[in-house]
């Protein structure tokens, strides 16, 4: 048996700023995770269906456009609609403090903002994500 954390990193919506998410992808690779990266300009539905096809444990969303309040919960909704509410969703980007409570309520389990050390994200994943049985 050799379970690895499988993670989908995606950028929803009209946002082409992908340097941060690529750096994270690399960091997760070095942490021993299998990272599926699908690039920019994804719709929530594309992200949810990809997560299912790839059988990931967790989806990481990156958003620097300000549309996180609409896009992040939409991904959670689409996962649920397709019977995959067990897949954990977390996010990161330029996200104001005041938006966090409603995002958490919508099912975004963690939010990482600029300045977070990369290791903190890896630690959170290792602590909170158990690859499914």
């Amino acid at each position: 048996m050799n379970r690895k954390i499988r993670i989908l990193l995606a950028k929803p919506g009209l946002d082409g700023h992908d340097r941060g998410v690529k750096v994270l992808a690399r960091c997760f690779r070095d942490a021993g995770f299998e990272v599926i990266y699908t690039g920019c300009h994804q719709t929530p539905e594309e992200i949810a269906l990809t997560a299912i096809q790839e059988d990931v444990d967790v989806v990481g969303l990156s958003c620097l456009s300000g549309a996180h309040n609409a896009l992040f919960p939409a991904v959670v909704k689409d996962l649920k609609q397709n019977g995959a509410e067990d897949i954990v969703v977390f996010g990161g980007g330029i996200i104001p403090e005041k938006d966090m409570p409603s995002l958490h309520k919508a099912g975004i389990q963690a939010i990482f903002t600029p300045g977070t050390p990369m290791q903190a994200t890896v630690d959170w994943l290792n602590e909170h994500i158990t690859p499914r049985d």
Partner: protein, 324 residues
């Protein structure tokens, strides 16, 4: 029949993807389902794409999905990317080129990490193909990791192998070397708008003209085509060349059927699958046990100190396990 097998045969993506991962991770309990899926009658054309990193395999795969979807064919895609020899992690990025098909329910794409496998595929690839076949996919497109000269595992799993080349990779001696240049049923010269494409075309043609398969009777001979694909920026033109490739793929499949060669290929595939099954039943458990007992560590330690050599140790272990 097991519930899971039924769901997979009905085409349920989540069940299939779960099973593929369980096989990748060598979880117990996958054998029973695979046993049932093995006996499902399959009628799928399995197509392999191989070539160097950045040759354009994913983009071609994306174009082919479009071409096949126009004909209402259902598609499975397996895309292999390399794994880190240090962390064991991976970045699987082939889907970036295929995003337009992400919400098409008739297309099931799955990325696989090579997990240290050296032949351009992953150990789970053969079983993943079987699972997609059992789902009833009309076509399965298997994309290897970017490869060099020797990674030819794809021939064990595909009916048709497409070798994707780009201009400017070396002189004509490269075309007569053994390995990957021998396994193509179809060559694609990708990025053919670049300098050197015509030269590469001539070199491959010359290589093919002198290949031993030319000794077969003309009516039984498969004449390996070379498809030029150019100008990715002109989408219509690109899709046109992909359409040509699609026709050649269909021709090759018909050729295999007409000449009763599918059975040959199937035999090859089954041999590879059996070898993999033997490997996971015989070799893997021994190695796992050596690690678990700490014996591996002790042996490495002794080797580092030059107290013994790997051959003596391997002989000893082989004796212990094989003479039973």
């Amino acid at each position: 029949m097991k519930e899971l097998s039924k769901r997979i045969i009905e085409g349920d993506v989540r069940s299939a993807s779960h099973l593929i991962r369980n096989i990748e991770d060598q979880m117990p309990g996958t054998d029973d389902v695979m046993r049932e899926l093995f006996t499902v009658k399959k009628d799928t054309h399995v197509i392999g794409f191989t070539g160097s990193p950045g040759a354009g395999k994913s983009t071609l795969t994306d174009g082919l999905i479009t071409a096949y979807r126009k004909l209402d064919k259902t598609i499975g895609v397996l895309a292999v990317d390399p794994s880190s020899p240090f962390s064991g992690g991976a970045i699987l990025g082939d889907r970036i080129r295929m995003v337009q098909h992400a919400t098409d329910r008739k297309v099931f794409m799955r990325s696989l990490s090579a997990r240290g496998s050296a032949g351009g595929l992953s150990k789970a690839a053969g079983e993943a193909v079987q699972i997609m076949e059992a789902m009833g996919k009309d076509r399965i497109l298997v994309e290897t990791c970017g490869v060099g000269q020797q990674e030819v595992d794809i021939i064990d799993h595909a009916h048709t192998v497409v070798v994707v080349l780009v201009p400017g990779m070396g002189d004509e001696v490269q075309t007569i070397k053994a390995g990957i240049m021998e396994i193509a049923d179809i060559f694609v010269i990708n990025k053919a708008n670049r300098d050197g494409a015509q030269k590469l075309y001539r070199e491959i043609s010359a290589m093919l003209a002198s290949s031993p398969s030319n000794k077969e009777a003309p009516e039984r001979r498969w004449k390996v085509p070379i498809v030029m694909v150019e100008n990715l920026n002109d989408h219509d033109k690109f899709q046109q060349s992909v359409e040509t490739l699609r026709e050649k793929l269909d021709e090759h499949y018909e050729y295999l059927i007409k000449n009763h060669l599918l059975a040959n290929k199937a035999q090859h595939k089954i041999e590879a699958e059996l070898k993999e099954a033997l490997w996971s039943r015989i070799f893997q458990p021994v190695v796992d046990k050596l690690y678990a007992d700490g014996e591996m560590e002790q042996m490495i330690d002794r080797l580092v100190k030059k107290e013994t050599d790997p051959y003596t140790l391997a002989d000893k272990i082989a004796k212990e396990y094989l003479d039973k």
